[in-house]
């Protein structure tokens, strides 16, 4: 992003442009559906913390295409989201996006929208795709509500610890 560009589309700490090394921690999810909003809650916690200057935190809500401006400008992306992996509620997963298949094979029947993984895929068409790791949490409740369930809320420190491990690995 050139200096003349707009403030980054970021709920970032302080500054208004993404820093040169461009590591983005992207928390996504729907804040109104309890544990679906885990990524948003984690992002809001991270924003309060002291982070290395090259790291920007973005709270992306449930946007898909709208996050292209972030995705195409970074080298390293860590996505925090709720993930349905079939494990017990509160299970934490860590995978790089090239390790999972997000594209449906049975187009006519599969439940599918244009989500964050697909938009990361698409970013390859207009530039480079950042190295992307997903830290996912198996939700307990997807009921309407702006609070996390206790089990999931209790996982936030562990998730943040894992994010810091990723940052260490990258440096």
């Amino acid at each position: 992003m050139s200096k003349a560009a707009a403030p980054s589309a970021a709920n970032s700490k302080g500054g208004d442009t993404i820093s040169p090394q461009k590591i983005v921690i992207l928390g996504v999810g729907n804040l109104l559906l309890s544990d679906e909003g885990i990524g948003v809650h984690v992002a809001n916690e991270l924003i309060k913390m002291n982070l290395p200057p090259e790291v920007t935190v973005v709270e992306g809500g449930t946007d898909g295409f709208g996050l292209l401006n972030i995705i195409t400008e970074v080298n390293r992306l860590i996505v925090i989201d709720a993930v349905k992996g079939g494990g017990a509620p509160g299970s934490i997963y860590r995978f790089d996006i090239n390790e999972v298949q997000s594209c449906p094979s049975g187009f006519k029947t599969s439940v599918h929208q244009i989500g964050i993984l697909e938009v990361i895929d698409l970013s390859g068409l207009i530039g480079k795709t950042p190295r992307t790791t997903v830290i996912g949490v198996e939700p307990k409740s997807l009921e309407m509500g702006m609070e996390l369930s206790h089990e999931i809320k209790a996982k936030i420190p562990k998730i943040i610890e894992l994010i810091f491990e990723e940052l260490k690995k990258y440096n």
């Binding site: 980054s8 992306g60 709208g66 390790e99």
Partner: protein, 520 residues
Amino acid sequence: MAKKITIDPITRIEGHLKIEVEIEGGKVKDAWSSGTMARGFEAMLIGKDPRDAPFVTSRFCGVCYSVHQITSVRALDVAFGAKVPWGGTLLRNLVMGAQYIYDHPLHFYQLSALDYIDIMAIAKYNGKDKDLLAVKDKIVGLVTAKDTYPLTPRYEPDAFSVNDPDTVIMAVKHYIDALKIHAKARNMGAIWGGRTPHYQNIVVGGVTSYPDINQVARFRTMLDEQARFVNEVYIPDVLLFGTGPLLPLAKAGIGGGHYNYLSYGALEKDPAGKNLVFPAGVITGLNLANIKVDHFDPDKITESVKYGWYKENKPVHPYNGEQVFDLDKKEAYSFVKAPRYDGKPMEVGPLARMLVAKNPTLLDLVGKGVKPGAVARHAARAIETKLVVDACYKWCDDLLDAMTKPGFKIHDTEHWDPPESGMGAGFYEAPRGALGHWIKIKNKKIENYQAVVPSTWNASPRCEKGVRGQYEEALIGAPVPDTENPINVVRIIRSFDPCLACAVHIIDPKTNEIRKFLIE
């Protein structure tokens, strides 16, 4: 013998929509549109401070967040008795203008274009243009690697599909260009909104932060680039397709529907709000020879729940709407309610706005044989994008003029605190169409809240009189010669730019092996 086919879900839209059609003699005989995801976020708002509503409603949807926010704020403006100063209106219009500019081209290229072109024709491109050859290499490379999402999977191209390699390769190049320009457009709103998604500057009474000259300059520079794309790529493409390869589809008028159109009106061009980029009005039973536009009367809106999974109730005005589910109701088939205006189903969105405005560019196309329907919807969307771009330039000028004068105001600070009691309706034109929020306040807290979203109008099921919704009616008569390949059905539905997201966004990997990544 009629054959029933079900498309569930319709892909490349936002949200979950199921369409069932009955085919007889190669044509759609009857149709049912079902929103298959329960909504009802409004219930969360009851008992909250009214000023929370814009921020909570902006979380209804990851696509349409800013329009919910502004519509909610407009309902509060009315309920609080706030008078938004011209500076506040200008800044609201600029932040919302940006949304149109990134939303509409995205719909045409990323969500719709693939319905109209045979992308595999690219392999036959024999030209020498270096840029286009790079596109060919890229796409052919993806096909070879069997990694063509989201260009595929798709329904099979049909007689209406464009398969001339030169046209197709240009369209695909523009698909890629549109992605690049989209990524840039998203930053425009953040200049005023503080961030995106989920702007922070729009509040009851106006906006929260004063503009400076550098922001205006930055916005204009970015606007220049968007304007070039809209004027030199997007509009020419839509016109080229609409009056060229797609003219047979346009002349057939597929996807027409009830020919009733509604616009609430939005985007003020002057402080009194007399002139709007999108004028308000209602057209019933469109007569192209003599378009009659009636005055919009908010009291004529009702919602029927006869065919919705809601507790039975007679049609009520949204002020009195409720959200009590009844999943055992026998005749119900949708979570979408059935809004009606004066008892009639309405189409909302770009085509409705441009017809209500009697836009000369659209009427010129109509004169060339483009009947109101799927293709005309794409044309109207492109035409109005230019209207918004032009208006943004004007608003920048107006803002520079206003902000350098003494007494410049962006907020009505006298009306920041909630009234003891009150009610207000907020009306807006979202990119997808007429959006309304209704609020009732009691003891300074929200007593009731209802939102009627554009896709509720368009995707509505039948009402208590058994009259079909607009999607359903628009599908009647659509040619489906091959029931395995109902491409015209998805063309019609996607031409409305459905957005029924308003819900989950969970990562649901298509693998059973996700557990191997379990770390705790």
